[in-house]
Symmetry: C2
């Protein structure tokens, strides 16, 4: 109770159904927070198309795919393709570009520190300053 508000406390004391949370929104590249532990946020996102190249100087970021295929491009020319049920942890300071194939919509879970900007130090039209809880 010391480091988080009563409101967050009560929100955290409920179980969360991940599929139900995916039904709560439709925007692309707009992560929604569904849980918080030890300073980390669990977020859901629906994405389509290309995101911006970015890195996070001090934060690792996890991408776990629930639907579709997510591509993570790296500056060395390699790409990691993630199917549903697969995850990848991008270490801090590694530049990456998430994207999808063609017009496919991809559903993701992200784990990263609370308060992080999802575009890293890059401020883009896709940048969301504060992610909404759902």
């Amino acid at each position: 109770m010391k480091t988080w508000s009563r409101h967050n406390y009560l929100r955290r004391m409920k179980k969360v159904n991940i599929n139900e949370k995916f039904q709560c929104f439709n925007e692309h590249w707009t992560p929604k927070v569904i849980g918080e532990l030890n300073g980390q946020h669990l977020k859901l996102a629906k994405v389509k198309g290309e995101f911006v190249w970015h890195d996070h100087a001090d934060e690792d970021e996890l991408f776990l795919v629930y639907k579709g295929i997510l591509c993570l491009d790296f500056r060395d020319g390699t790409t990691v393709e993630l199917q549903p049920g697969e995850f990848y942890i991008v270490p801090k300071s590694v530049e990456h570009r998430p994207r999808t194939k063609g017009d496919e919509e991809v559903w993701l879970m992200l784990i990263e520190p609370a308060g992080i900007k999802h575009t890293g130090d890059v401020v883009d039209e896709k940048t969301v300053e504060v992610c909404e809880w759902i």
Copy 2:
């Protein structure tokens, strides 16, 4: 590369298929580490029966169910039942007892700080001092 070994670095730079990792072990109540980010471990566990009552003084713990139904008992007499695709975050210092129904085997993902004892301050025959990476 400053805070973790080269070995862990290379392990982290690979994608992980969660179902394949579940096939790698059969022991109960013996969490296996499958990923690390920002000081947190992602672990898989197969469980059956009752665990010990315990808490973690300073760490929140996430339980995400992949197969079966997990029950989390609390000292106020309430129980949270988690189906596949549902998670619950037990806040730090909240005493809890994970258990399954009858003889059903339950598959879980756990997220908690690296280095944490899964039995909290309770040392029991089920206590695993250092969780193995798979």
